[in-house]
């Protein structure tokens, strides 16, 4: 079946060339459409269950963190165990702006959070990716993990930022005189932001730059011999991913009314890895589904006393199971490699 995208990519073919058969059936657009419909009707279905609306909002916000990791790993092959660092630091910054400056207007604080994430990730990228020698994957993974751990330890002992207690009673996110409290309004705000980020990430993935990232993920040395500054591309995507994580951190801080050391540590960074791998890395929608799966299961099982205490162990086993037996995640069952990786200039027989 021809999709609009296929038609767009197939040139007018003045040479009379015939094109290839459609080599794969597209599944992702249907998954995306279904997820969007579910997200749009969710608050109406949940009705008065404000606890569940809050849970759903959390899923949307944490999906930003998951997409941030997918940009790094799924699209570009950068293994980052530090995405929570950018998430948490941005969350702290807007909490401090609210506390010390009494300011929480979204037109300024959300861009500020994005800027913080972008600059911090850019700083890490400069150290980890932009050296003369090509860094190994282990070096980058350990570097980001160390950064996340060090930041968690730092804020845990820093009284100005609440030390181990974190910052609570974060000023509500405001637009003019309207304040976003937990509930439907915040849900739709988070959904709108997630949609914007998602569309942007999808645009990036399907662009010619996305082709560079897809090539980079497979053989970065080869791309260097094509004349691509591979590490610069990596640094760029890593910084963009940091920006997305920062945006998520700000929303999280406003939504929860709290931000603590655990929101920037290896625990949350690893959970972001789990969201992505469980859902299906490289698909963008997979990490969103992975986030929903993990968070809903956590919520449901947290009420079951027998499981509550061992839930982290179960999560760890799930991650292990996914890596060993279903590395392409839940969506890997539906989506072929061809669609996951993408096709950038297909012709038709």
């Amino acid at each position: 079946m021809l999709t609009t995208t296929d038609t767009d990519l197939a040139p007018s073919d003045a040479a009379g060339r015939t094109g290839c058969t459609s080599a794969f059936r597209r599944v992702l657009p249907y998954v995306e459409a279904a997820a969007l419909v579910v997200a749009l009707v969710m608050p109406f279905v949940l009705g008065d269950r404000t606890d569940l609306v809050t849970l759903a909002t959390n899923v949307l916000i944490l999906s930003l963190l998951a997409i941030s990791f997918d940009l790094c790993w799924g699209l570009s092959g950068i293994m980052s165990f530090g995405q929570a660092l950018f998430f948490g630091v941005a969350g702290y910054v807007i909490a401090l702006v609210g506390r010390d400056l009494e300011f929480s207007q979204m037109w300024a604080t959300l861009p500020l959070a994005m800027l913080v994430g972008l600059l911090l990730a850019g700083l890490f990228a400069a150290f980890l990716l932009l050296g003369r020698k090509t860094p190994t994957g282990i070096f980058v993974a350990l570097g980001t993990l160390t950064g996340s751990y060090a930041a968690e330890r730092l804020v845990s002992g820093w009284q100005y930022v609440g030390a181990g207690n974190g910052l609570s009673s974060v000023k509500l996110l405001a637009l003019g005189s309207y304040e976003f409290v937990e509930g439907t309004a915040f849900y739709f705000l988070a959904l709108a932001i997630l949609l914007l980020v998602y569309v942007g990430a999808r645009f990036l993935k399907q662009s010619q730059l996305g082709l560079v990232l897809a090539g980079m993920r497979q053989n970065e040395e080869r791309l260097a011999f094509f004349g691509y500054r591979v590490q610069l591309f990596k640094a760029l995507v890593f910084s963009l991913a940091g920006m997305v994580a920062g945006l998520g951190g700000a929303l999280y801080s406003y939504h929860q009314g709290f931000i603590g050391p655990g929101n920037m540590g290896p625990g949350l960074s690893t959970t972001a890895v789990l969201y992505c791998l469980l859902g299906g890395s490289g698909t963008l929608i997979g990490p969103v589904l992975g986030t929903a799966t993990v968070e809903v299961l956590s919520y449901v099982l947290a009420d079951v006393d027998a499981i509550k205490r061992v839930w982290p162990v179960i999560l760890g086993l799930v991650l292990l199971g996914v890596v060993l037996f279903q590395p392409k995640g839940i969506l890997g069952l539906l989506v072929g490699d061809r669609e996951r990786i993408g096709s950038y200039g297909r012709r038709r027989k």
């Binding site: 560079v212 260097a224 004349g227 038709r348």
Partner: protein
């Protein structure tokens, strides 16, 4: 002035001296063959030219610029293009996308993000695929091609960069005699606009397409000159009859 001037290049791997004071000039517009027994340093020299290895000493001057310590990225931008000995196509991308990836390497970041050149580059990509007999496989994954077709795809990708100097490391390795013959035919038309350095074990192939030859032995230049001169060289004959 030669397009490529290699002076006193040495390269040592632990205790093995792979290149030992190599001097070579490659003139613009020539097809230059590097031959020699296994382990003579041919591939190492090619990698030193392309930037996959840095020479320990000596200099490599390309098109008037010293590139001895520059990165592969910088050398590619300067007009050098390498086809690896072991095929390095991107197996999970389509054949078309492999060539597009090489073709679009000179595009700026904003143009890549906006996919501004996708349509304009299409003609060049298709032209290369047609020339290298891959157009019918354009939509297949590169990893699904036969070995010979992957070699052709590699050469097409290397040529997509519009290099001034193309470095081919055993382009006919693993090919059938028919495929080797076709490869020679495919390379012939690039002569007017691209200089070629080719490492190859198939001496018939080398003799058919090259103007100049350099014979390496144990990391040193044993002899160099035109094909006929090298064919008559007693030193070369001795090496090839005793060690090849």
């Amino acid at each position: 002035m030669a397009l490529l001037e290699i002076r006193g290049v040495t390269k040592t791997f632990r205790t093995l001296r792979a290149l030992d004071g190599v001097d070579i000039d490659v003139q613009d517009g020539t097809f230059h063959g590097l031959i020699g027994p296994n382990g003579s340093g041919k591939s190492t020299l090619l990698k030193a030219i392309a930037g996959a290895h840095f020479a320990d000493s000596g200099s490599i001057v390309f098109d008037g610029h010293d590139i001895t310590r520059t990165t592969p990225y910088e050398r590619a931008r300067a007009g050098l293009s390498l086809k690896f000995q072991i095929t390095a196509v991107l197996p999970e991308l389509s054949v078309y996308d492999n060539v597009l990836l090489a073709t679009q390497s000179g595009q700026s970041l904003p143009r890549l993000l906006l996919s501004a050149s996708r349509r304009t580059l299409d003609g060049g990509v298709v032209g290369l695929l047609e020339r290298f007999r891959l157009i019918e496989r354009a939509d297949d994954l590169a990893g699904e091609l036969s070995h010979g077709q992957q070699q052709w795809l590699e050469i097409a990708m290397a040529l997509a960069l519009k290099p001034k100097l193309l470095l081919l490391d055993e382009p006919t390795g693993g090919m059938s005699p028919e495929e080797r013959h076709v490869t020679g035919q495919l390379l012939e038309p690039i002569k007017p606009y691209c200089t070629l350095i080719i490492v190859e074990h198939d001496l018939h192939f080398i003799r058919d397409i090259c103007d100049q030859l350099t014979v390496l032995d144990q990391g040193r230049v044993l002899d160099q000159g035109d094909v006929e001169t090298i064919q008559r060289s007693p030193k070369v004959q001795q090496v090839f009859t005793t060690r090849v």
